[in-house]
Amino acid sequence: MGLVEAEGVVKYFPITQGFLRRRVGEVKAVDGVNLSIKEGATLALVGESGSGKTTLARVILRLLPATSGRVTFDGCEITTLDDGALRPVRQKMQIVFQNPASSLNPRRRINEIIEEPLLIHRVGTPGERRRQVGELLERVELPSHDFMFRYPHALSGGQRQRVAIARALALSPKFIVLDEPTSALDVSVQAKIITLLRRLQRDMGLTYLVISHDLSLVRNVADVIAVMYLGKVVETAPVATLFGAPRHPYTRALLSTIPTVSDEESALIPEKITLGGEIPSPASVPPGCSFHPRCYARIEGCDRVTPELVPVGSDHHARCILYDRAAINTGEEERPWSSHWALRR
């Protein structure tokens, strides 16, 4: 059993119209997701914008209420807890946002920003808190005497992200959501932040949920990857398996478009597949398999049958009709699926 478990998590946002806010439809941001994150491990959610990665993370942290489904954190179901009971649980889960320029209050000094979670949860005396802020700054490798009384605008992007990480660490959490933690930073700074995050994970036994669209980065930070498309997980596997033997057509296409910087890397990615079109709006999800209008391996039935996430290897699951035998009308002979792929390649 993992530290964080999500079972059938669904999040729909209503689309309303007119003065009476009549409900005319819904945006299916997250549509039935099961996830399990082991303690001390890193799970990465990858997918294009609009695939529901951030919404899912917010539902897991209960920053948003789920439409249905259950989220269990450390053995305790948090989807139904009331606000009072949720408070102690909240201390154990934190989030670092994408853009440190907008996630830090420009009118607060660094020490106030980092102290705030401690104040909210009434931890320690003023003296203890001050000492703790100093320790947190050292932990993220910022000299505390220099930075304590500065404002965020006086810091570089990398330094600001370190402050955001220090704030997330203030309550000694077990679980941190990192929402595109380095996408606003340059590569040379990104490498520094990732090194820091890895060390913190090792030293403090943290569990991470990383949201990213950068597959090369994810290759380096994650233990398990879940690929999302239009609110559903389409493939999940340990990092080496997913990059070594991707099964879902979408994952393959995604991997094949990674811009690489060396020949060794180019040799690792699948043969070039260019997808047509763009990810549709989650307000009008295509029927059947939601990927079928863009899929290059489409077969008869893809537009009617909604495939389930089925095992395709050890710890490896994919949501595709090619592997989901139950979704196809049984009666015909078992099809040689592997040779089907061989043909496509």
């Binding site: 294009e48 914008s49 490798e141 910022l142 000299p143 220099d146 570089s156 992007g157 990398g158 330094q159 340059d186 590569v187 040379s188 700074v189 990104q190 490498a191 520094k192 990732i194 090194t195 669209h213 950068d214 597959l215 090369s216 980065l217 290759r219 380096n220 990059f243 296409a253 995604l254 478009t257 990674i258 811009p259 690489t260 910087v261 060396s262 020949d263 060794e264 890397e265 690792l268 990615i269 260019t274 997808l275 047509g276 763009e278 990810i279």
Partner: protein, 348 residues
Amino acid sequence: MEPLLTIQDLGIHMRTYEGRARVLNGVRLTIHEGETVALVGETGCGKSITAKAILGLLPPNAEIVSGSIVFKGRDLLRLPEEDLHGIRGRQIAMIFQDPSTALNPVFTVGEQLTDVVLWQGARRATIGRRVTGAVRRRCMEILRLVRIPDPEGTFGRYPVELSGGMRQRVLIALALVGRPELLIADELGTALDVSVQDQILLEVRELVRTGGLSVLYITHNLGVARLVSDRIYVMYGGEIAEVAPAAEVFRRQLHPYSQGLLAAVPRLTGTMGEGIEGRIPDYVNPPPACRFEPRCPFRMEICRLRRPLLVEAEPDRWVACHLHAARGDGPRVASGSRGESGSREESG
């Protein structure tokens, strides 16, 4: 053969609240006909300012202190504004960075396109413009060229009604409609999802190949630069650090900054470097000689005394570093301390 564009010793200062920022310091760049060049570097290295200088779109507090930008035999920096109108948007066009902000939200795609088409050859914008047959045909032609699925429908739509990829295509159409010879693409596709970015880059590469265009890509994404360009200029701190054919620079980098930058890129092979110590130079008080010296793991005595000039260290490979002598001078050996007195990251 004469290059299409030659930038020589370009120096630009900006008047800022803190003082005079020396943002470009002797930038050199050439683009030959039909060539695709990428200018890569991190935030604040001066790559966008270089592009803006080519187009004459510098902000009012910028001052050109030295150099020339020669395009087809004419120095753009010494051309009167009137003549620049004949070049900007027609002979040199730019695709701006962010497709969600570069289009005017209150005009339809068609209105913005016809505006540019009517500008062609006109000294002033026409008043009471009517979309005549030829203009409309030209618009449809260009929308089809950039593979917009429903050109007739898109023509009458507002930018908000389009997806990110479609907006990016409209921006490309706006740049190509004047049949430019040089295209400047600022972070093309980096605001888009990878699968769409991939489509756009491939399509532009195809357009460039068939249309005989020359392109200057400005990007911070090294993977994208490798995919699209023939030659790469690595920029650091307002200076050109290294110039090399794209294929070679990814195999072996000469400048310590390029080495650090490449090492910091996360790899699919599962390796990822440590990043570069320190932060970009302060442009108001830049390091006296080599601007990379404070962060350089190979710094030597001379790096603080004399500015390294861009020299051809190997055939077709130029580098501005004291570790590399000009061809024929014999190699200098890397000596000196390996970052002993290294300042901690970003604490400057």
